[in-house]
Structure formats: C-alpha cells, structure tokens
Symmetry: C2
Subunit: 181 residues, 2 copies
Amino acid sequence: MKDKIVTLADKLIRVKGFNAFSYKDIADPLSVKNAAVHYHFPSKADLGMAVITEEMQRFQHSVQQWRQLPEDEQLDRLVDVFRKHCYAGNVCLMGSLAPDYETLTPPMQEKINEMAEAIVEWVTACLEQGRKHKRFHFKGAAGDRALLVISNLQSSLLLARVMGPEAFDRIGRQLLEDLRS
Amino acid sequence: MKDKIVTLADKLIRVKGFNAFSYKDIADPLSVKNAAVHYHFPSKADLGMAVITEEMQRFQHSVQQWRQLPEDEQLDRLVDVFRKHCYAGNVCLMGSLAPDYETLTPPMQEKINEMAEAIVEWVTACLEQGRKHKRFHFKGAAGDRALLVISNLQSSLLLARVMGPEAFDRIGRQLLEDLRS
DNA sequence: GTCTATATTCCGATAGAC
DNA sequence: GTCTATCGGAATATAGAC
C-alpha cells in the first residue's frame, strides 16, 4: 500500500503539480479513506519526500545498469527515460517541483537540491568521459555542457505539454546529434 | 488598481505558482479586501489570462524595440530579460504555468499555447536571419535550434532556483558562445 | 469601486473505534 | 492498518450596503 501511494503521488506531482493534488486524489483511486493515507504519510511533505527519494533511487539504479555502455549510448538511455515520460503526459520531477520550490518545506527543498546535484554530477561525468573517448565532441567545460543538456531535457517536457510531443522529439534528436558530431 | 493587481499576480505566479497563491495574497499587500480583487477579475482564471496577455504584450514590445540590432545582440537582450528574472527570484511564465497546465481552464491553456508559439516563432526567425548574416553558426533547422535555446532559458531559471544563480550564468554564457562560434 | 459578511467547498490533519 | 467522524482553516466566489 505504501508503494502504491508513492507511485500514485509521483504521477500526480508530474501531471497536476505538488500543490494541486490532495489526499483525496490518492485515497479514492486506491479505494481507501484519506485517513489511511495519513497513517502512512502523516504530512504531505512526508509524501513528497518519499516520492523524491524513490526517484533518486530509480535514477541511481538506472545509471548503475548503464555503466558498461559507451557514454553516448548512456545518454541515449537518459533521453529514453524522458521520452517515456513525455508520451505518458508527465513532466520530470524537477520540472514540476522547481516552480513550487518556495512553497515547499526546507527538508523537501534540501532533497530537491540533492536530486539536482546527483543528475548534474552524473551527466557531467558522462560527458567528460565521452569526450575523452571521442564519442562526444563539444566546447567548454563538461559541467557547463551538462547544465545545457539537463535544461534541454527538463524543458522539452514542459514544451511538449504545451506544444505537443513533437517538441520533445526535435529537442532530443538535435541534442544528441550536436554532441556526437 | 487593475494594473497593480496584474503586476502582483504576475510576481506571485512566478514565485509561488498559479495554484499556490490566493486572492488574499493579492488583496493584503494592496490594502484592499479580496472582494475588490474579484470585482476586477471575477475568477482566478480571468486574472491568469490578464497576466499572460500582459506578458505577451511586453514581449512583442521588446522585440519591436530590438528589431534594428544585429541578431546576436537581439538574442543577448532576450538573455538579459531572463537574467533579470533570475536575480529577482522569478521563473519565466511558461516555466511556471506549463507544469500546472492540466489544472488550468481551456482559455488559459489556449493563451499559453499562443505565448509558446510567439516566442518560438521569434527565436526561429532571429536564428535564421542571424545565420544568413553570419552572426550565428549552427547545424540543423532554425526551428529545432530555437527549441533548444528556449528550453535552455526556461530551465536555467528552474535550475537557478534550486542550485543558485551561477547555474543561469553558466547556461546563458555557453548558450550564446555556442551560437556565435 | 470598495466594503462587510457570508456561502460553499475543499484541504490537511487528528481522535478514537474496530 | 483502516475506518468514521470531525476539527480548524483557507480557498474561491457572491450578495448587498455604501
């Protein structure tokens, strides 16, 4: 049940936003009362923390599985993750929570910071190693390039929601092509 | 008074998000009662529409003023607009409203669509003309490149909120450097 | 145009029974 | 662990006086 709640909360955050969903939106589809949800997650911030923590674990598990691949294929996989979210009508967790950042509890803000650091660190290392192995070609610091890549992926989901999924496809394709050539 | 309300609502949308601010957040700082705000904007969606409309007018007015400049300097100006928002603690309107898109009224969604189309159209034309005049150098279609630029700018503000303003500076600088060289 | 006052609904959260 | 029941508060919105 706890897992079902977190999974559903994750979806709701991505589709409606953290401040726009309620305990009722969790309880009704699971056919329980909102008190049952409060039993597992006393406050909404507790639920938010669990969603972010699970997302970070998913991310670490994924990159762990990709670690034997060439760096450009590792980045392909990351784009695949975003593509799946795009066609599921989701935005990414950062893209949903960052605009609400000022309304969140300090512990949630701290978790979001950690999530951002983790993905920036991984993309930076991926680009750096990939350039060394001649699989990526780009100018400037790998850390700066990583910020560009991450911002492209994040906003591709925001733009896709407004303009349609083609926006994601065009961004994702051009992004990968730029780095490889 | 109507202008004051729209200006304040714009700020609140950018800082807290559309679903996280209330009529009280508008009324209190203006030293009026929430009924006075409802007089000018009967529903919250009416207020949201006015905010988007004013932002679009500001944008059209700006690009009109820039039209005599070289294209790379026009893009500098656009980055300047985002930089000011960054240091004011704001995200851009699209970056705030896109995650909440599914919770908004159809008229608001339509206005957001128009806003997205307008900025994509302008950046595309700017890049296309700039490339023709040898002020920009990039591969691929100008429209695809425009989506990359816009996604960089949008998410630079989201990342800056979480990671600090340096994230914006690094993205903005590398972005402009890529296009010029 | 702004006020007081209120209707209505919903939300997050808790108490206590089972 | 889930339930019923409810508290306290806040939100959007409206009616009617001034």
